[in-house]
């Protein structure tokens, strides 16, 4: 016997978890020093942050930060790398977020970062993005132990003063 569920884009079970993947709201990343996705449900176990043609005004590396009630700015263990043909691999470590390389204000970047819940508010992440205006790959990894249940993701820069000036960003989340 099969069960057919029809007429809805999602199914919610008793615990409040929405089965399947839920999309946030895509926003233009064309202004501001940070973009926050807030009110992420407590049952979420995986978050995918998607970058489409994103650029910032300077060369400050990018940061993705998680939070519980407020944005957590310390305690991350993250390293990012830039892979470019015939150029030595460049790496940078971070404690203030999941770092993503950014070596040019002209860089236009697309790709994804995926955060996964290890357990007990410990999150891990990986990121793979590419410059669409040249031939470089940016990749990163990260772990963080949050003080509580995750409810937000912030996308910003290390320096915090560069502004977004192109593209769009959205998230997917799932339980």
């Amino acid at each position: 016997m099969s069960t057919v569920i029809d007429g809805s884009a999602s199914v919610t079970i008793n615990s409040g978890v929405i089965l399947g993947i839920t999309s946030g709201t895509a926003v233009p990343s064309t202004s501001g020093t940070s973009i926050d996705f807030t009110s992420i449900p407590s049952w979420v176990k995986r978050i995918t942050v998607m970058f489409n043609g994103v650029s910032t005004s300077g060369t400050s590396n990018w940061l993705l930060q998680l939070g519980s009630g407020s944005v957590t700015t310390t305690g991350y263990l993250s390293v990012s790398a830039r892979l470019t043909n015939a150029v030595a691999v460049a790496t940078t470590s971070y404690t203030t977020g999941l770092g993503i390389f950014n070596d040019s204000a002209a860089a236009v970047v697309g790709g994804i970062c995926t955060f996964t819940l290890l357990g007990s508010n410990a999150w891990t992440a990986t990121a793979v993005l590419s410059r669409t205006d040249s031939v470089s790959i940016y990749t990163s990894g990260m772990t963080i132990a949050l003080g509580g249940t995750l409810d937000r993701v912030r996308i910003t820069t290390v320096g915090g003063t560069d502004t977004f000036d192109a593209g769009s960003i959205n998230i997917l989340y799932e339980g």
Binding site: V27, T33, D36
Partner: protein, 60 residues
């Protein structure tokens, strides 16, 4: 004023949140420090380029 973008994923509401006066002051100070550092790097580079190497006598 500088701002950040906030997206509430439950409601789908997108809000532009302006910096407070304190946040703006921190932001402006960071920009000023960054400009100063860049100016110092440029000045050092120009000074290094301006170093004149004394000519030496040709070896007979």
């Amino acid at each position: 004023m500088t701002h950040r973008i906030v997206v509430n994923v439950e409601t789908g509401v997108v809000t532009q949140v302006e910096y407070t006066a304190e946040e703006q002051a921190v932001h402006d100070a960071a920009l000023a420090a960054q400009a100063l550092a860049e100016a110092q790097v440029l000045a050092e580079a120009q000074a290094a380029a301006a170093v004149v190497v004394a000519p030496t006598e040709p070896v007979a």
